[in-house]
Every structure is written in structure tokens, then in C-alpha cells.
């Protein structure tokens, strides 16, 4: 099998990138390079074809309304089927905020537009009038990533999960999926949706490695990844968590 190579598909990189979401791709790529693995990042955007067997890990970030409408139409064409198939085949996927919303069943914007999702996640999103903005801390329930995830959320959409997927974790501070049920994000097979910007992965390196390991395992015989020196990552995580817990903010209330 030789040296493992992670093949990342960066979906709509120029359209769906808000609040530094591209930092997640930078983190995935660097954490492979530091281990001596190969990395290939393929941007796939409007009108491009998507072969579900060509990539190990898919990433889609958040966007503004206009960009989200363009992407929604494009996903509905043929990429949606390919993405669902890839995830059924065990590919890893990370979607943030607007990207997360478009992978659910549908997204009802605050202006009343009903954007159909690709139903990769059993989740529905409706736009709200107030934005949920602030630092977030989430107790992760993901096996191997137990512990706290930190990030920054900024969304007006309220997402509600159905029974076909489970939340990524429970909100300790912040609003999470909808500001009501205390849930944050969603997990289905090796696919994750979340509202956490930050960027998410650099400060939550174990989640990054969870995705990398699952993505590589399909083609490479790997039980675990070689450890990296994450002292800077852990220091940044600790500092962000302290800051988030120090903030006096009520949970689940419109700002």
C-alpha cells in the first residue's frame, strides 16, 4: 500500500468559506504532512463533476445566503447523489454551518425561500430572526473524541435532527443547533455536520485525527495515527475554553 495519501475534496472553496473555514483543510493537510503522509486537495465547484470513489474526505464550509443558493442548486444536480454514495461507502466528511444546513433535508430561509437539501443528514433547518453569535463549548459524544470541543458560532438557522442521525455533542456554552434542545451538530456514519467555526480542527486536533484516520482506513491498513506534538494546539484549546466558560452568557436565548 505504501505511504498513505489523504485525498481531500474541498467543495466550493471560493463560495463556501466564511469565518476561516478553510483552516480546517489546512489543518487536515498539515497533520498528514507532519506524519509523512501524502496529501492531495482537489477543489470541486459549480458545474464540476464529482466521482464518489476519487476522494477519502470531503469538506464543505459555510457561506452567505447568495452563495448558499447557488451551491444548493448545484448540489441538487448530481453531486448530491455522489456525496451520499461516498458517505455510505465510508468516506469521511466535515461540513460547517451553511454547508451543514445544505446536507440536511431542507433549509427554509428567513426570507421564505425553501432550499431543498440533499438529505445526507436527517435534519431540517429553518431561518430565525436573531443570530446566534458567540464562543461555543460542546461536550463531544464521538467515540475517540470524548471531551470538549471549542469553536465560534454565527448563524440564524435553527437545525433540528431527526432519528436518522445523532448530535455531535451537547452544548456546554453557546446556542448549538437551535438554542433549544442543547444539541450541537450531527453525526452520520463518518460524516459530521456542525456550526463550529474557529477554525474548528486546528484547536480540536483529536477531531481532525478522527476524520483523517477514518478517511485513510478505507484504503490503508491503519489502526491508529502516529502521535504528534500537540502542545500548542492544546494550549490554544485550553485558552479558548477558559475564555468561553468565563463569559457570562445565557444559553439558548436570542441575543
Amino acid at each position: 500500500m505504501g505511504t498513505p495519501e489523504l485525498r481531500i475534496c474541498h467543495l466550493y472553496p471560493e463560495l463556501m468559506n466564511i469565518y476561516g473555514d478553510r483552516g480546517n483543510v489546512i489543518a487536515l493537510a498539515q497533520r498528514c504532512r507532519w506524519r509523512g503522509y501524502g496529501v492531495r486537495v482537489t477543489p470541486v465547484s459549480l458545474g464540476d463533476g464529482l466521482d464518489p470513489t476519487e476522494h477519502d474526505l470531503y469538506f464543505i464550509g459555510g457561506g452567505q445566503d447568495r452563495e448558499q443558493i447557488l451551491v444548493c442548486e448545484d448540489l441538487a444536480r448530481e453531486k448530491g447523489d455522489a456525496l451520499r454514495q461516498a458517505v455510505e461507502d465510508g468516506a469521511a466528511l466535515l461540513s460547517i454551518c451553511g454547508g451543514f444546513q445544505l446536507l440536511g433535508d431542507h433549509f427554509l430561509t428567513y426570507t421564505g425561500e425553501d432550499l431543498p437539501g440533499i438529505s445526507l443528514f436527517d435534519a431540517k433547518t429553518a431561518g430565525g430572526d436573531a443570530r446566534f453569535i458567540g464562543n461555543v463549548a460542546v461536550e463531544s459524544g464521538l467515540e475517540g473524541v470524548e471531551g470538549v470541543l471549542v469553536g465560534f458560532e454565527n448563524h440564524s438557522g435553527r437545525t433540528y435532527l431527526g432519528s436518522g442521525c445523532r448530535p455531535l455533542g451537547g452544548v456546554i456554552r453557546g446556542y448549538g443547533n437551535n438554542g433549544e434542545d442543547g444539541q450541537e451538530g450531527c453525526v452520520y456514519r463518518n460524516a459530521i455536520g456542525t456550526y463550529l467555526h474557529g477554525s474548528l480542527l486546528p484547536k480540536n486536533p483529536r477531531l481532525a485525527d478522527w476524520l483523517i484516520l477514518r478517511a485513510l482506513r478505507r484504503r490503508h491498513d491503519l489502526d491508529e495515527l502516529p502521535r504528534l506534538d500537540d502542545s500548542l494546539e492544546e494550549a490554544a484549546h485550553r485558552a479558548a475554553l477558559e475564555l468561553t466558560l468565563r463569559e457570562k452568557r445565557r444559553r439558548g436565548v436570542s441575543p
Partner: protein, 455 residues
């Protein structure tokens, strides 16, 4: 003028110094009509400068040109760009009868405050410099901000004038139904264009039809020469242009200006292309106000660097080059400027997440630090989010052994200076409130002149 008089006395009692917003807030509470009254007594009317970046530099340049041309501007303090700050500036400049001692208002206005400022101050001229995402966490989407600004411009009088940055597609699209006369400024020099849009580019789509814009030239961020393949919309022709630009690193740039009335070359002692835009906005506005070429030239010559925006301070036998870097586009421009300074550079980066900086620091992942890492000998990271900064540089490729985290500013400054050789320049890249902190620290150390000097 009853309100104005009371306001002046009140504002004296409240003190003009420290918090620029406090006196304004009290005045507005007691005399809600005070800004209207005071603004109406300015013989030369009001000029408003709005946009994400460059408000302070543009209005400081413009204030210098106005003074050189014999005008006496009433000008708000750095960063005090809400109605409260504007009201405080008017009150503090007024005499005992409540009449402002000045003949023209020159106000930096926060983008979201523009509708209120237009309604209340009835400006004769409005400048919009650019729109970036830097304040999205406060204002939501750029598009909805643009709609609010459209509504504000629609509210202008027919005799008013609007001056827009043609190189910013979103700004150039403003003022569609605006009764005022619209003028544009922009860069007309391919020598400073780069290929392709950067990651940090914000407005990449046609506002009319949503198609991705074609960029024939890209200067920085989403600034460039663009057209829409979908509906044919294009960058408007400009009235005030920079037709030749010679960037000389952190020292500044030589710029050839072309205006409807004259053409000429001048040296701008401010680094980076973004400051060329600020020069175009200020000189364009000066000309629209009837100021002559000499006033523009003297204004630019006499301009002492706007507070914190690129300034060289000798300290401890080294030179500290202090530059405000508060959002991806600004930071990328700074990095581009640093590329002209060689490699092996000592760096100090201060990242704060206070309200004035924006609480969200995820924008640092949109900055092309991958281009800065190879230029750095070492980086000392400081500020309330020092560790985020350090982590960003690690992922950008700077070896962790070259990165030091010192959240406390004084220790960070010492570490950054100690790592540098005698006479060497240490580059300090700081967010808004970190710039204030650093200036304050340097003043205490007697390294820098007063906190800031208003031009």
C-alpha cells in the same frame, strides 16, 4: 440654538477627554435633536466617510487638505464613528452659544450608522471606501449591509455628491436609486495587479444577477477590474485614478494621479495599495469640494502617519515598525508589503478579541500566513488570543521552535526586541485594540510621542 448651547456646557462638564462616546450618549439622551441643530450651523455642510477599512486614514488625509485649502474641519476622534461620537465631536467643537467653531464637518461613520448619519446630518458628500467581512459578526451579511447603505444613499438630497470606490464591486454597485451625483475612484495601473482572486476575497459575485465575476486584474482582497459574464455589468469608469504606482515597501508609494482637472505625481508616506485607495478617496473628495491641486499636495506632504497605521518607532536600539492589521485583506496587504523587506524578519503579532476587534478570531485562517512564514526568523505571539495566533503560524509552516507565546504585551515586546540585532527592524502586526495597548506601553516607556495626534 437652545439645545446646542446647553449641549456645549453639558459636554464641557462631562469632559472631552477619555471616553469619546460617553458625553455623546448623555447629550443625545437629553437633546435628541442636537446633532441636526449643530450640523445645520456648519456653513460648509458635512462630509461623511464610511466603509470597512481606510475611514481614519482617508479622513485624516482629507482634513489636512481642507486645512491647507483654508477650511476649518470639525472632525471626530479615531474610532468614535457612531452617532454618539459624532455628536460629541460637534459639541466639543462648539462655542458657548452652541455654534461649532469650524466651517465643515468631516465625520468617519460606521457602515451600519450611515442611514442615521445621512438622515440627521444631511451631508453634502458621502465617501464609501470598501466593504469587507471584518464586521460580519456584528452586522450579518455583506449583502444586507449593502442594502442598508443603498437605503441611506437614497435618502440624500439631489445636490449631494457620492464618491465610491469603483475597484470594490459591492461598493460600486451602491447608490442605484440615489438622487445624488455619483463619482468613482480607482486604480488604473496593471503593474500592481496580481493573478486570480485571493482566498480572503469577499465580493466575488455580481450583485445584479449572482454570476461569479470575471477579474481581469486583482489588486488585493476583492479589489480589481471586473466584469460580469452573466449580465454585462462592469466596473464603472473612474473620475479619479491612480495611473502609475511605485510601491517602496514600508516607506510608502509614489503615485501618479489623474483627475478631471489636473494630473500629477506625489509621494505618499503610507505603505501598501490600500493607502493608494485612501489617497484617491481623499484627493477626489477635496477636488469635489473645490479645493485646488496645491491644497491636495500640501495635505499629503504634511500628513503625519495616522495613528498606528504603519509607523517606525525607535526603541531599545531597534526600530519597531508598527502596523495595524485587523482583517484578512488588511493583513494580506501588510504581508505583501513585508515581501519587499527581505527574509529573516523578526515579528511580533498581537491578536485581541475585544469588542472593537470583533470577538471572533477565526478570520486569521483567511489570511495567507503561508506567505509570511517563509519571511519570518521568529514570531512572538501576544494578545488575548496569543495562542490562536501562534497556532495559525505553526499551521502556516513556521517551525514551532521559532514561535514564542507571551500573552502579556510588555514581556512579548521585550522578547521580540531582544531577539533582534542592534539597528534591526522588528515588525509588529497588531489588531485594533492591541495597537492601542502597544502605543500606550510605548508612551509609558517614552519611546513614542503622545497617544495619538489628530491630523
Amino acid at each position: 440654538m437652545a439645545a446646542g448651547k446647553a449641549v456645549t456646557q453639558l459636554s464641557r462638564r462631562l469632559g472631552a477627554g477619555a471616553g469619546s462616546n460617553f458625553p455623546g450618549r448623555v447629550v443625545l439622551r437629553l437633546y435628541p435633536e442636537a446633532p441636526e441643530e449643530m450640523a445645520a450651523s456648519l456653513a460648509g455642510g458635512c462630509v461623511l466617510v464610511s466603509g470597512t477599512n481606510g475611514k481614519t486614514t482617508t479622513s485624516n488625509l482629507l482634513a489636512g487638505m481642507m486645512r491647507a485649502g483654508g477650511m476649518l474641519p470639525v472632525h471626530n476622534r479615531v474610532g468614535a464613528n457612531l452617532m454618539t461620537g459624532i455628536t460629541a465631536a460637534l459639541a466639543q467643537a462648539s462655542d458657548r452659544k452652541g455654534i461649532p467653531r469650524g466651517d465643515i464637518g468631516l465625520f468617519e461613520v460606521d457602515e451600519a450608522t450611515l442611514p442615521a448619519a445621512v438622515r440627521r446630518l444631511r451631508p453634502r458628500l458621502v465617501i464609501v471606501t470598501n466593504l469587507f467581512r471584518d464586521q460580519l459578526d456584528r452586522y450579518g451579511e455583506l449583502e444586507s449591509l449593502a442594502r442598508k447603505m443603498d437605503a441611506a444613499l437614497k435618502d440624500l438630497d439631489g445636490e449631494a455628491v457620492v464618491l465610491l470606490n469603483a475597484d470594490d464591486p459591492l461598493v460600486a454597485s451602491l447608490g442605484r436609486d440615489c438622487p445624488a451625483r455619483i463619482y468613482y475612484y480607482g486604480i488604473e495601473y496593471a503593474g500592481v495587479a496580481e493573478a486570480g482572486l485571493r482566498h480572503a476575497a469577499d465580493s466575488k459575485h455580481c450583485r445584479e444577477c449572482g454570476s461569479p465575476l470575471d477579474f481581469k486584474a486583482n489588486y488585493f482582497g476583492h479589489m480589481g477590474k471586473y466584469s460580469c459574464p452573466g449580465c454585462g455589468a462592469a466596473r464603472p469608469p473612474v473620475d479619479f485614478a491612480a495611473t502609475h504606482i511605485e510601491l517602496s515597501g514600508t516607506r510608502g508609494s509614489r503615485v501618479r494621479l489623474s483627475t478631471p482637472r489636473w494630473q500629477g505625481e506625489l509621494f505618499l508616506g503610507l505603505p501598501g495599495l490600500y493607502n493608494v485607495h485612501n489617497l484617491l478617496a481623499a484627493s477626489g473628495c477635496a477636488q469635489l469640494l473645490g479645493l485646488d491641486r496645491e491644497a491636495v499636495e500640501r495635505g499629503v506632504e504634511g500628513y503625519s502617519t495616522a495613528f498606528g497605521r504603519g509607523e517606525r518607532i525607535p526603541v531599545g536600539g531597534r526600530d519597531l515598525f508598527l502596523v495595524l492589521s485587523k482583517n484578512p485583506t488588511g493583513f494580506n496587504e501588510v504581508i505583501r508589503t513585508l515581501r519587499g523587506e527581505g527574509t529573516g524578519l523578526p515579528l511580533l503579532a498581537a491578536l485581541n478579541d475585544r469588542i472593537a476587534d470583533g470577538r471572533d478570531v477565526s478570520w486569521i485562517w483567511d489570511v495567507d500566513f503561508e506567505e509570511l512564514a517563509p519571511l519570518a526568523r521568529y514570531l512572538v505571539a501576544t494578545g488575548t488570543r496569543a495562542r490562536d495566533m501562534a497556532l495559525r503560524m505553526k499551521y502556516a509552516g513556521l517551525h514551532p521552535s521559532a514561535i514564542r507565546v507571551e500573552p502579556e504585551l510588555k514581556r512579548a515586546l521585550r522578547a521580540a526586541l531582544e531577539g533582534a540585532d542592534e539597528g534591526e527592524t522588528v515588525y509588529a502586526l497588531t489588531t485594533y485594540t492591541a495597537t492601542l495597548d502597544l502605543r500606550r506601553l510605548l508612551t509609558r516607556m517614552k519611546a513614542a510621542p503622545g497617544l495619538w495626534k489628530e491630523a
